[in-house]
Amino acid sequence: MSLPLLSARLGKRQAALEYKWMKRATSPIPLDQMLARRVAGEPLQYILAEQPFGPLTIKTRPPVLIPRPETEHWTIRLAELLHPTATPARPLSVLDLGTGTGCIPLLLCHLLPAGSVRAYGVDISPDAVNLAAENAALCGLSAPADPSRNSFQPIQASFLDPNFPHLNLGVAPPFDLITSNPPYISWPEYVRLPPSVSHYEDPKALFGGPDGLDFYHAIAALVARNDFLNPGAVVVVEVGDGQADSVQRIFKATAQMNTEIWLDPWKKMRTVIARPGI
């Protein structure tokens, strides 16, 4: 009975696809309940409790931010960029800021050569840290008894804290790679978000301050500290529609870094890559 309702909500084509995915799912939830939840506006990724991300399957659970296709795209590109030089002889020390499900460091660990990545992720939300730890275990990348394998370890902390990273936190600079998909939605945009986002996903993972740029200022200040980055390090951040230029300026002004912009598959300026200036 819910399928026509779903069609009315999503359009016939999208409804048919989603119906098929729900039917195919291994979830213990009955199909009619899944349909009813979808019709009520819940994101499909929460109903199915997982989302493919590159070749990985990432577990999803409210309110932790659902991995987006744009993030998948730039993470794969980043892995391709790092792949030629990544080696277990000198593992990359990676820090993901606001790690959420852990999707970014997990995909890097999966795509880069065994033993070439030691990744850490911090998040202020215990929900996110727990989920990221579950995902690390599911991907076989939990930290790190065996140095011949890649590992990812999520840690609960606020990277806005002036003392971050605290002593004994279990993660310490210098880093070779900083990644982040920080909250970047501004106030005026926040109030116009579709309910499937604003009613279900964590505001702490979405809202980036009045102009959406608060976290870029914080990240730039963090990486500008002495000995936070190794020589040759790379900082990669996802940005919202129309923010790329501002974010470039922040990294140039605060951290004297050289920057580059990557487009997403829809030709939007989506990712800012910053490297320490000479």
Binding site: L17, K20, P43, L65, R68, E70, V239, P265
Partner: protein, 336 residues
């Protein structure tokens, strides 16, 4: 270490093994027959010997009629390839889609019996039942060689379950079987250059990123030089749809390449081999008569239920393969 020349020689030697085996088999069988013949005059052993005699004569005939000719057939260049099968319902509306669903099950059942792994990569199921179209992967050596002859239009004649008046309908399903090309192989065969591929992603306008969480993962690839275009939307991620689309594109381009190579070989021959056009009607499934007919080889069998529900399809697959080998031999003889 063996040199490339050594490897080539070893390969040639390996390829002659079946000839030696067949010849040894022929010699030993003939010797056994000779010995048996002498026993036919022995009154005590006669009945046993005559039984043996009939059996050995049959073996010799089999060797001459089947094994020796089979050696002459050049080894297939595509023997190692897996297959990608596309099924599309043609005329007949929802009845064609219902039959497509049944054909899909028929082919899926063939896979384990043949040692292949089958995987439905994409399918469009209809609310009213049946499947409008589907793409299936058959992984395993020999899959392409066996299934390539399934390409063409399959026709079903029956009274649809949905038909109230009991009137007979004729519907069609078009099947295309392509060689399945793995990522590594696509690169080796130089099927395309990334510069020639246009990648389009489909999505309604908007900010993207954190602003939306709708699953919009459809991808379309276009190979500009040939105009071949592949759209994929069955998977939930961009990445998966992209991979699938590249795989289908590689298979299509591989097919183009194989066809071109075959035509080049043919052009050097005097006669034309009968060509299999995709628009040709190749087989009819007639439910009223419980009959399946393959129009290319004129084979009709009253085993429709076995074809659809058990292992009857294998008979057709083998018969067509045999026919192909025979026509290859005829070609070789003509070339003399």
């Amino acid at each position: 270490m063996s040199s490339p020349e050594d490897i080539l020689r070893l390969k040639q030697l390996k390829e002659t093994e079946p000839i030696q085996e067949a010849w040894d088999n022929w010699i030993s069988t003939r010797e056994a027959l000779r010995e048996t013949t002498t026993l036919l005059d022995d009154p005590e052993l006669r009945s046993m010997a005559s039984e043996e005699y009939a059996m050995l004569t049959e073996s010799l005939t089999e060797i001459v009629k089947t094994r020796f000719p089979a050696i002459l057939v050049p080894p297939s260049r595509t023997a190692h390839l897996s297959a990608l099968m596309e099924l599309k319902s043609g005329v007949g509306g929802s009845e064609a889609s219902l039959f497509l669903g049944e054909m899909l099950r028929m082919y899926l059942r063939l896979a384990p019996a043949s040692g292949w792994k089958a995987d439905v990569v994409a399918s469009n199921e209809l609310d009213v039942g049946g499947t409008r179209d589907a793409v299936v992967e058959f992984k395993g050596p020999g899959a392409y060689d066996a299934l390539q002859w399934e390409s063409g239009v399959h026709r079903v004649q029956r009274v649809p379950a949905t038909e109230q008046s009991g009137r007979m309908h004729t519907s069609t399903v078009a099947v295309v079987v392509l060689p399945l090309v793995e990522d590594s192989e696509a690169h080796k065969e130089e099927l395309y250059s990334m510069d020639d591929i246009k990648i389009e992603v489909m999505r309604s306008k908007g900010a993207g990123g954190q602003h939306v969480n709708k699953t919009e993962s459809a991808v379309r690839l276009t190979h500009i030089p040939t105009g071949i275009s592949v759209a994929m939307q069955d998977e939930r991620s961009q990445h998966q749809n992209r991979r699938r689309a590249f795989q289908v594109l590689s298979s299509r381009l591989m097919q183009v390449k194989l066809t071109r190579e075959m035509e080049e070989r043919r052009a050097s021959r005097r006669n034309l081999v009968k060509s299999a056009d995709r628009s040709d009607k190749i087989r009819t499934y007639n439910y009223a008569q419980e009959r399946v007919t393959d129009h290319r080889i004129g084979l009709s069998l009253r085993n429709l239920t076995s074809v659809m529900e058990a292992d009857g399809l294998q008979e057709f697959v083998s018969a067509i393969k045999r026919d192909h080998e025979e026509s290859q031999m005829e070609d070789m003889l003509q070339e003399e």
